[in-house]
């Protein structure tokens, strides 16, 4: 079972089994119609351009079912209540594949705007893509909800229509130290850190923040190395880390780079006691690909299917039925985007884009990723859970009240696993 059997791309679900999800519960109960209401549109048009093929394909395929399931659930309850028309209107979601190409993504968004006349955009994945699509949203003045990028600097441009209910670099750079200090008694902490920075803007941003924060929490960065994406040979960096006696590894490699990195760490016999690797291990295939070598790695993926928020269980069940496993890490945040949008439309009471935008900015609600509010720059205040690979599974280890397993430390050497 693979995302190949994902549901059809255009989702139109009229009311069948009214099973209201918590999030879609109307805040106001529909009143009997007033005197003269404008004729209601048949659907609320929403569009997404997602990289289903190309280099961000593996992210896009996690995002898509989140959007699709959320729309199905909302439509199953009859749609979103829009006060202006005095009735519930189902959402019609149109999804296009942009092939991980920013230019193609732009043309997809223009089509969604001109042909479907969408009231909001849902984002794809990867900062390359968001850079282009968020700007188009800004240009067309269409509210845009995007996840699967932690780059903070996009939000510093002054964009008004961009919202991202997803943890950003500053949180990731702070939380890791707080968790370590909370979980591990002093003296046992992996205070010597090696950082492998990918030479990209997000790499610079996130790794720079780690480096900056480390001393404040009593850690020392002993190795800070840069590499270009798509590097095959990490031996040199690994040997430097080994020689410097580094005990922890921080990095944010892409999947191929992460796999090569860990294979070579095993071959060269350097095991960090703790590793925080964002991105590469987020995919379920990490475990399959690396076996025990991939164990004990921790991640900040933005969400986990074990979170105990309303709606998560149903989402997992649905995902399980379709793909044979609980929901993927990006699926939850994607689902939440639709929840936030529906909630905002309902509060706006109209399909006017600027009204919806303002309503999104004022969001304060519970979603499958937990409570969400937005800052003025469009970043979301959301939970930033820490996940760890244990026994070939992704376990939620932080925060404690959500945890599905205990944090495991220190990681045993590769050849003793």
């Amino acid at each position: 079972p693979t995302p190949t059997q994902a549901p059809p791309t255009e989702v139109v679900k009229p009311t069948e089994t009214p099973k209201a999800t918590e999030a879609a519960k109307p805040t106001e109960t529909p009143k009997p119609t007033e005197v003269s209401l404008p004729p209601a549109p048949e659907f609320i048009e929403v569009g997404a351009s997602i990289p289903l093929t190309g280099k961000f394909g593996s992210l896009g395929t996690q995002v898509k079912p989140g959007y699709v399931f959320a729309v199905q659930d909302i439509n199953a309850a009859g749609g979103v209540y829009v006060k202006e028309y005095g009735k519930k209107i189902p959402i019609r979601l149109t999804i296009y594949d942009d092939e991980s190409d920013p230019t193609k993504a732009v043309s997809k968004l223009e089509t969604l705007y001109a042909e479907q006349n969408v009231v909001a955009y849902l984002g794809g994945a990867g900062s390359d893509m968001h850079a282009a699509t968020a700007a188009i949203a800004e240009k067309n003045k269409v509210p845009y909800l995007g996840i699967a990028f932690a780059l903070y600097s996009i939000h510093q441009q002054g964009y008004k229509y961009l919202f991202s209910p997803f943890p950003k670099s500053p949180a990731q750079a702070r939380d890791v130290f707080e968790i370590l200090n909370a979980e591990i008694p002093e003296g046992e902490r992996p205070t010597k850190i090696a950082i492998f920075q990918e030479k990209t803007d997000w790499g610079k941003e996130l790794c720079g923040l780690w480096k900056e924060n480390a001393p404040k929490y009593g850690y020392e960065v002993v190795v800070y190395e840069q590499y270009a994406p798509k590097t095959e040979d990490f031996s040199d960096m690994i040997l430097k880390a080994k020689a410097a006696g580094a005990e922890a590894l921080f990095g944010m490699p892409t999947q191929p780079d992460g796999v090569a990195m860990f294979k070579q760490m095993a071959e060269l016999g350097w095991t960090p006691k703790f590793s925080l690797i964002i991105r590469a291990p987020e995919n379920v295939t990490w475990g399959e690909t690396l076996g025990t070598v991939g164990e004990y790695v921790t991640i900040f993926p933005g969400w986990h299917h074990g979170e105990k928020f309303p709606g998560v269980e149903e989402l997992n069940a649905k995902y399980q039925a379709e793909f044979g496993r609980p929901a993927d890490l990006l699926t939850g945040p994607a689902y939440a985007c639709v929840q936030i949008l529906a909630n905002a439309i309902e509060r706006a009471g109209t399909l006017d884009r600027d009204a919806i935008r303002d309503a999104i900015a004022a969001t304060d609600m519970m979603t499958v990723v937990g409570p969400v509010t937005f800052n003025a720059d469009g970043t979301g205040n959301v939970l930033n859970p820490l996940i760890q690979w244990q026994n070939g599974k992704l376990e939620l280890v932080w925060p404690k009240d959500q945890a599905t397993a205990d944090f495991f430390y220190p990681a045993p050497p590769f050849d003793q696993r």
Binding site: P256, T289, V293
Partner: protein, 293 residues
């Protein structure tokens, strides 16, 4: 000083062997048929997935599946050749390059996206129980998997070289490279020769793919970067010498890791490419290439 440098070079040697293997397949096909098969990287990817499948579904060791992977790619090669490339045998060299480039481009789109349907866009790879084993010599670690890969690449290459130089079929192959019409007049069935070299190229791609899945990782979009690397190594080594191509691969691999060691990892590929350009400036026919007529 010595150990880290030596260690770097050992890794470079092993990456280089894979570059070489990928390029030799490309160079064989291009040399004999003048088909510039830009879907070579995609064939390599299929080889990688074939081994990956055998390993995850049946638990078969990748080094055991290697011959099977080669056979699998051989069969795919036959199909692709008969379906697409056989039509181009008698075109002029220029038209051949142009048309195969186009077909290869279409083919790589198809193969990439079929792989995407079959295996999803996720990165995969094979990690065996002995993946983390290594033996140490003078303080330098030699990971078993990589050493074995190098050995296999070398064996494949020597077998190919022997085949081309010693056997009649091999000679027929080289003759066809030079002049297909004259080769026909020798009683050589050039369709068969073309098929043979195309299929051998595919099989070599399969072998390389299998080794990549063990040493690194595979994903549906990996093809293009391997094709580009292969093309660069093919030209670096020079057309007309398969051993030269392989050595070219090693030179590139070692240069890249030495750059990582002495300079910076961020410019490792750049320095490799600069070396490539410098070689071409001083030897426009590549390191071991014969001057073009």
């Amino acid at each position: 000083m010595f150990v880290p440098l030596a260690q770097s070079l050992v890794f470079g040697l092993l990456v280089g062997a894979l570059y070489g293997l990928a390029a030799v397949g490309l160079s064989l096909v291009f040399g004999v048929t003048k088909f510039l098969n830009v879907a070579h990287g995609e064939l390599l990817m299929l080889g990688g997935y074939a081994s990956f499948w055998a390993f995850t579904l049946r638990g078969v060791d990748p080094f055991l599946t290697l011959p099977l992977t080669m056979v699998f790619l051989l069969v795919i090669g036959v199909v692709l050749y008969k379906l697409l490339f056989a039509h181009m045998v008698k075109l002029t060299e220029e038209a051949k390059i142009q048309n195969t480039l186009l077909v290869g481009f279409g083919l790589s789109l198809i193969l990439q996206n079929v792989a995407l349907r079959l295996w999803t866009a996720d990165t995969r790879g094979i990690t065996t129980s002995y993946s983390r084993m290594a033996f140490t010599f003078l303080g330098v670690r030699f990971p078993i998997v990589r050493v074995a890969s190098l050995g296999i690449a070398l064996i494949a290459l020597f077998a190919l070289d022997l085949f081309l130089r010693r056997t009649y079929t091999g000679k027929a192959l080289r003759a066809t490279v030079e002049n297909w019409e004259a080769a026909t007049l020798m009683g050589i069935d050039i369709q068969r020769v073309y098929l043979l070299s195309f299929v051998m190229g595919a099989a070599l791609a399969g072998a390389a793919g299998c080794l990549v899945s063990v040493g690194y990782s595979i994903d549906p979009g990996m093809g293009m970067s391997w094709t580009l690397k292969g093309l660069i190594v093919m030209v670096l080594g020079g057309l007309g010498s398969f051993m030269g191509t392989f050595v070219g691969g090693i030179v590139l691999g070692v240069t890249e890791s030495a750059t990582g060691y002495f300079l910076t990892l961020t410019y490792r590929e750049v320095v490799g490419l600069v070396l490539f350009i410098l070689v071409l400036v001083f030897r426009p026919q590549g390191l071991f290439g014969t001057k073009e007529r």
